[in-house]
Symmetry: D2
Subunit: 134 residues, 4 copies
Amino acid sequence: MSQYKHTVNYYETDKMGIVHHSNYIRWMEEARVDFLNKIGWGFDKLESLGMVSPVTAVECKYKLPTRFPEEVFIDAHVEEFRGVRLKLKYIMKNSEGQVVCEAASEHCFLDANGRVIKMERDYPELFKLLQPEE
Amino acid sequence: MSQYKHTVNYYETDKMGIVHHSNYIRWMEEARVDFLNKIGWGFDKLESLGMVSPVTAVECKYKLPTRFPEEVFIDAHVEEFRGVRLKLKYIMKNSEGQVVCEAASEHCFLDANGRVIKMERDYPELFKLLQPEE
Amino acid sequence: MSQYKHTVNYYETDKMGIVHHSNYIRWMEEARVDFLNKIGWGFDKLESLGMVSPVTAVECKYKLPTRFPEEVFIDAHVEEFRGVRLKLKYIMKNSEGQVVCEAASEHCFLDANGRVIKMERDYPELFKLLQPEE
Amino acid sequence: MSQYKHTVNYYETDKMGIVHHSNYIRWMEEARVDFLNKIGWGFDKLESLGMVSPVTAVECKYKLPTRFPEEVFIDAHVEEFRGVRLKLKYIMKNSEGQVVCEAASEHCFLDANGRVIKMERDYPELFKLLQPEE
């Protein structure tokens, strides 16, 4: 499991005085980028191999509001990956340890021609790294 | 059912050349604002009554990419509302009629003191307007 | 002179209850896209000719706040274009006719190899259309 | 002078493959927040004293593109403050030390009633801290 810290920006707030809900989707991306860097397969490496990894689904359950300028701690981990569809989970907590958001995203991996990559065959090392922890 | 049109902005694209997935969450809000206006209960009316309506959950399934400067047509409708939790569904189509995204959001309604509003009792007209169509 | 209308989105507000200042930069782009469409040289046409037109400078003077869900009317016009650097001006007004923002942007035009395009020689029609009105 | 580091996010890129120019305005805010924290007068302190500090003008000159996932180093400093209008300058550099953007912003300080604060009289400590370095 990988932990990423995001500090809320003023421009992420809305007129309710709290963070606008759309920003959590962006924080998931930040945490995902961080997670891939930590396992040694950053976006730049994926792209240098001609891979793109579009988002096919997202979901967020908002539990508590967050406010400028607090810190949000995001745990990202693989929930499931059998080789085609990568399912990631995100638990976001505030500095008091309260869960503020539970989220998930799904991704596929495409090669330069837009074809789905067979990860276990073509990139066995990455396939293994993307297996969910017990 | 209410239809809203969003024209993709250049600043909504990302380096994949397509619309960044976070923007669909914002388009859902645009369509929701439009829907509430059309039933005569715009955000400004809600706020003048001391109501706020935070988003408690969102989900998006991305079916096809969208690109600058295409038009996206969003149908928003109530899926379920028994008085506390409003569930909205969104079907987004491109100009060829293809579904590009299927989405949903959930909302509650709070009064000025942060208490959950009992919609059927306190705002029976709005309660009725928010019933799903047969 | 070209007029473009932007309706303020909820997600463009910040915790001061007004539109966050960064959004005006995006509205300038919306008005610019609209202006180029109206003179028949939309971004898609420019890109199909292998042209890109990066922003080299922007400035905004904020006169009055704007709020959700008001409408903002943006007049965009060419201030100067001698063939290399395009200078655009933007006057943004609210529905009462008050100026809310005065802005400017500068652009160059590059070909597919990143070289500055000599507009008067290579695209005389566009060069002429981009001359400031008397 | 205060230095702030921003790591470019994927969602900040556009279809040209580089960071969209509107994001630099947001990075200026991040660097400003960081600067005010470092001098001990963070936004939260200003707000707890009933002060707001709206942006009255911004400008950016874009020198070189930036790309995901590079780091951008932002030096923020006071250019001028005689008590009413605060002028800040920002120099943004990439990791090779090249200037990618030169920017400026102007701000005023308002009290809870929307009146301009006389900083030298009412907050002499902050007034002094906001004097430009020699």
